[in-house]
């Protein structure tokens, strides 16, 4: 895999691992992130991994970019022999349909399925968290079954509650914060994707897999109460 090194202004570098969205390219990005973090380089201010790039932000008053480039290239040589810790599947409870998922019926109808079919298909795939971005805690997910793909609403809703689970085209996702948006809402999770008062602050990290599972109203309320009380343990299992 040939990496490309591209400056992004005077205090960030992009290391580009490919030109496509694929698990292979994304794996290189995540390996590179881990490898560079291990170096503990002075002057690095932040990392922004995405689908096919790693952006490395640095302070040019602390570290010379030519020196950084050399270190990047040296670290890149180690990627071939490097392995990442086993990926985890994060189990995400979802109350499908009703007031929590007002577009479930539309998604079913659009695809010639029943609502039960949509729930079954949506909750049977493991979706890779390729990256986070857009708003704090928002995951760009891969792996949704095309049989439930549905275009966005033409007119976005003004207010979508945090935790809403939706479909936009061939993508599924969860709204971490209350926000406007045009996604087809099929359900809601009682989990909090972002809480600045807990450690860690974010539920997901790039490289995790998300598996949705249906819960009824009673279970949803029980989990929501446990989340609010700080006692809920999110279920994580190793990815097979």
């Amino acid at each position: 895999m040939e990496l490309k090194y591209i400056p992004s202004g005077d205090s960030a570098f992009i290391i580009k691992a490919g030109d496509v969205i694929s698990e292979e390219v994304n794996l290189v990005v995540r390996k590179l992130l881990k490898r560079l973090e291990e170096e503990n380089l002075p002057g690095i201010t932040d990392f922004i991994p995405s689908y096919n790039e790693l952006m490395v932000c640095y302070d040019p008053a602390t570290v010379d970019y030519r020196q950084l480039l050399e270190i990047f290239k040296k670290c890149a040589d180690d990627l071939g022999t490097m392995t990442l810790p086993a990926a985890e599947v994060v189990h995400v409870p979802v109350l499908y349909g009703g007031e929590a998922g007002p577009d479930l019926h539309h998604v079913a109808e659009h695809n010639g399925l029943t609502e039960e079919d949509v729930i079954r298909i949506h909750s049977s795939a493991d979706c890779l968290v390729y990256m986070l971005g857009f708003t704090p805690g928002f995951c760009y997910l891969g792996g949704m079954d095309r049989r439930i793909a549905t275009p966005r609403h033409e007119t976005p809703r003004l207010k979508i509650p945090a935790g809403s689970v939706g479909i936009a085209g061939e993508q599924t996702g969860i709204y971490p914060l209350e926000s406007p948006g045009g996604w087809q809402l099929i359900g809601r999770t009682p989990l909090r994707l972002f809480n600045p008062d807990t450690k860690p602050e974010f539920l997901f990290t790039a490289g995790d897999y998300i598996r949705f599972y249906p819960v009824d109203r009673g279970e949803y309320e029980r989990i929501a109460a446990a989340v609010a009380g700080g006692t809920y343990q999110v279920k994580r299992t190793p990815k097979e």
Partner: protein, 323 residues
């Protein structure tokens, strides 16, 4: 401990430091001062570390009352500050006493003022920073812009000399003047030349598009905010079907160009990632100029090299470290 009582809030006054780093991988914007140079300068004048927490006031300033003694300094936009009705100079440490009122008569230049207090503002840090991120409602003072009636805790004033602490209202007040190097404070003009470095997707644009970008004038529109400066001018032409990229990281000062050809400069509250072609990056040293521009002001972009850009930045850093 001294506090700050907010009588009027101004258009948009927030608590900011140099920003929240380390969480961009989770989609958390950096936030922080739009004009970090002025923030650092104001802090320097009151004897703080350059990254201490300040107030960032936008276009119209707040009216504040002090419940205890402190030093304050104002850098950035000149909003004609006054203390108890008396005009006070910009970029100068001013001795404030209990009951003193700080106000602003109106904007004379720039867009954002930074008000530093000795010891900073003692709001609790959130994820390593005291900066306000308005969209998620976190950091700063209760995660929001200041409102009338707010009372903000000021940091300890341990830097004051014993003499300062003993001084009373009968002692003649003196601004504490630190001589600033000539030409240090940039002139906030309505037309600015802004230096850029070629961006990762410069090759997504037609030659004519790149020519437009580097020769036409772009106006700052009213849809500019802490997230980004949206400009309007001669459309920058992409090559066919080369408008969007796979969503990827955005750095401070990235200039992205959506399909309509109108550039956006990404600023403090920028999203961590975006899907538009990144034509260029504003150099760090010139971000202070952008942050002081208002709707209606004009920008002319000029290309420079990474080495030049870094030299300007490092020269500026040396002002604060004294080397």
């Amino acid at each position: 401990m001294a506090t700050l009582i907010v009588h009027t809030a101004g258009l948009l006054t927030t608590v900011q430091d140099r920003g929240r780093y380390g969480y961009q991988r989770y989609g958390m914007p950096v936030s922080g001062a739009m004009d970090t140079f002025s923030l650092e300068l104001a802090n320097l004048l009151v004897g703080n570390d350059p990254g201490k927490t300040c107030l960032e006031a936008t276009i119209t300033g707040p009216e504040l009352e002090f419940t205890g003694a402190t030093w304050l300094a104002i850098s950035g936009a000149d909003m004609d500050p006054h203390l108890n009705g008396q005009g006070i100079p910009m970029n100068t440490a001013i001795d404030a006493r209990p009951g003193d009122r700080l106000g602003f008569r109106g904007l004379k230049s720039g867009c954002r003022s930074y008000i530093a207090f000795a010891g900073g503002i003692a709001v609790p840090p959130v994820m390593g920073s005291r900066s306000t991120y308005l969209r998620a409602g976190i950091g700063g003072f209760q995660g929001r812009a200041l409102m009338p009636g707010d009372e903000l805790p000021l940091g300890g004033s341990d830097h004051l000399s014993p003499f300062d602490q003993l001084s009373t209202d009968t002692v003649k007040r003196k601004p504490r003047v630190i001589k600033l190097p000539e030409g240090l404070i940039p002139e906030y003009k309505h037309e600015q030349t802004i230096r850029v470095i070629s961006g990762p997707e410069a090759h997504y644009f037609e030659i004519a598009g790149l020519r437009s970008f580097l020769s036409a004038e772009y106006t700052v529109t009213a849809r500019s905010d802490r997230m980004g400066y949206r400009l309007s001018g001669e459309p920058i032409k992409h090559k066919e079907d080369m408008t969007n990229i796979i969503s990827a990281g955005i750095s401070l000062g990235t200039v992205q160009v959506p399909g309509d050809g109108q550039p956006i400069i990404l600023m403090a509250d920028r999203q961590t990632s975006g899907g538009y072609a990144r034509i260029a990056n504003v150099i760090t040293a010139d971000l202070t100029l952008i942050a002081q521009m208002r709707p209606g002001d004009m920008i002319h972009f000029k290309e420079t090299t990474m080495d030049m850009a870094q030299r300007h930045y490092i020269d500026r850093c040396n002002i604060f470290t004294g080397t």
